[in-house]
Symmetry: C2
């Protein structure tokens, strides 16, 4: 498939940028003596997974049992499902646990007994700690509950405690590097305290959001990192300060379907079903859904930040564009759009087209019955 022949929105992947992002993070993990267990929910692709393998990656993180099965089928045998154990999927979990080194998450007190009852194979577990993201996990200072869970793990013949795991996802709401560093330091300190308090358990400390892993140079007390988004990065990461725009490895190629010079707007074929609907404030606009770039045969050139997608409906994208750029575009042309949140955009699209014209498929990620 040649880019110029694209008929409908297609997610372009710059393999060189992507491989470089992987290499830099893998080297950083090595430099700080951290076990590297990247999250594969961003790319969801066995082909891109091989690019990680080439950099020495052997252990991975996923966000669902289905994703664990997909990567297990592609030769990955050390997988952490970084999502609270879903008791309704015990059949799949037991199957996986019998085949690979599977790590599960205990994120609340009540799950441990159920798991002990329903598990059929020896399995490693992390206790998930909430260091402020307020998603899943035990409050970092809820020592009593953590002790209860550890006690239950000790009593269970099948559960082995790997350690404590956190996702400081609140770094995604940061608007600069200092905020990220502060959240990261607090989170790290809380995890360090747990490591010390429960020293007899020799717990591994697993952390890992892309902003912290990219920006920080202090991982004191951490044993493992699990970033995911860095494989592509996106506008949100650039805004936070995790990457430069030049490092963003994916862009959605969208046909121009209408031009309104009078209102300085263009309509592209590219909507919520392609981008998903994450947005961020940019240059006076409350909701930017993507920044515009021109395709140049070897990739894309990003336009100034007052050229952006300002509204999305199911299939339409409304693009605000400066006159000097609008003049260069005709109905039927393609624009590239850098996504606000590459994980969700990739999930929506289901496949990639590399700049050298190869189609890369993702796992079949449509949920359904």
């Amino acid at each position: 498939v040649v880019i110029s022949d694209i008929k409908t929105p297609v997610l372009l992947l710059d393999e060189a940028k992507c491989r470089r992002n992987i290499q830099v993070m893998a080297e950083k993990a090595g430099k700080y003596n951290l076990h590297f267990r990247p999250h594969f929910k961003t790319h969801q692709s066995a082909i891109i997974a091989e690019w990680f393998r080439e950099e020495g990656t052997t252990a991975i993180t996923v966000s669902s049992v289905r994703m664990a099965k997909y990567f297990a089928n592609h030769g990955w045998n050390d997988i952490t499902i970084a999502f609270p154990v879903n008791l309704r999927e015990m059949e799949g979990i037991n199957q996986l646990a019998s085949e690979i080194n599977l790590n599960l998450l205990l994120g609340s007190e009540d799950i441990t007994d159920h798991l002990t009852d329903q598990l059929k194979t020896e399995t490693s577990v992390f206790i998930e700690i909430d260091t402020g993201a307020r998603r899943s996990g035990i409050q970092h200072n809820d020592i009593k509950i953590i002790e209860c869970i550890i006690d239950a793990i000790r009593k269970s013949p099948l559960l082995n405690l790997s350690g404590f795991l956190t996702h400081a996802g609140h770094t995604y709401h940061a608007s600069n590097k200092n905020d990220v560093l502060q959240i990261h330091q607090e989170s790290l300190l809380q995890m360090h305290k747990l490591k010390t308090y429960f020293a007899t358990e020799k717990p591994m400390i697993s952390i890992g959001d892309t902003p912290s892993c990219t920006i920080s140079d202090d991982f004191d007390g951490a044993d493992e990192i699990r970033p995911g988004n860095f494989v592509f990065y996106d506008l949100m990461q650039a805004r936070i300060g995790s990457c430069r725009h030049e490092q963003i490895a994916v862009a959605l190629a969208c046909p121009v379907v209408a031009k309104y010079p009078g209102r300085s707007e263009i309509i592209i074929y590219g909507g919520a079903v392609h981008f998903s609907k994450d947005s961020m404030p940019l240059n006076g606009e409350k909701n930017c859904y993507g920044r515009i770039a021109f395709l140049n045969g070897e990739g894309w050139n990003i336009l100034p930040d007052n050229n952006m997608v300002i509204a999305l409906s199911q299939e339409h994208g409304v693009v605000k564009m400066q006159e000097r750029f609008m003049k260069q575009i005709a109905v039927g042309d393609l624009l590239a759009v850098l996504p606000v949140h590459s994980c969700l955009t990739a999930h929506q699209m289901g496949s990639y087209l590399t700049l050298d014209k190869r189609v890369i498929h993702m796992m079949d990620s449509k949920p359904g019955v």
Copy 2:
């Protein structure tokens, strides 16, 4: 598939409510002597399409060439693609135009010549009018441009003018019925003026957003309506006043994976990849992503409006829940969640499970290369 056996998030469909929604709208169109051309982008399913056929529907609206092909393959031979003509898909458009009665949209001045050059079969076209939604379409008062387009259509041997079409999508931002009625009246008046001004063309006037079509009883000057969302409705429509909560025909069944009574929150397996990310303000929360209901064997009972999804990440949903309801729920149970925007949630899910245990598939809507 039995609901109680669900392992991962599944979109439940109450067929009786859905059929009733279809029936009421079809009857309303009949009562006002309006041609009924419902938008099928909400359900994207050949099975649900048949429920429309049983109510006498023969003409439909879709939002992409791919969707038009899907429904044409399922016996629908009068289809309007309510999206600006995408010149990159002329091959598919020509194919469809040779097989069925296809209506295309001219949404900007520059498209007409291109279409004339590339079209191979006689085809009907609507001129898309912007009555304030600021998405695609010619400004309703831009008479000169409209005249130019009509002139080009007259000169083209293959283009036949059907009339003027608008989507007053700004009703979706209304917060009550009066706002909807005001937007609808303005939009209708603008279309009526065009009908009068271009009377010699005998233009059909096609309108049709769900809020206007549901709430209004004045369609003076309109010939056709194209609502779509009403087939399921959702929380956004209930908020606007288009429906009662009892009319909402879909709910996402989500496993409970963690319980945090201390913070009055539950974590469900159900995230952005299942719901998409549309939100609305509700009961003091800036972003509500869904309201919680209990499954009751025959459907669901909605809980008070302070029980809702307040945050979504890729797979996690964070649910705020009152203590008295939280007590009734254990890890491993299922909750039902009424979606904020049913079109996007259905698109994400790809299939439905009816309350009487039938699986209904949608078209394969994953974009991709």
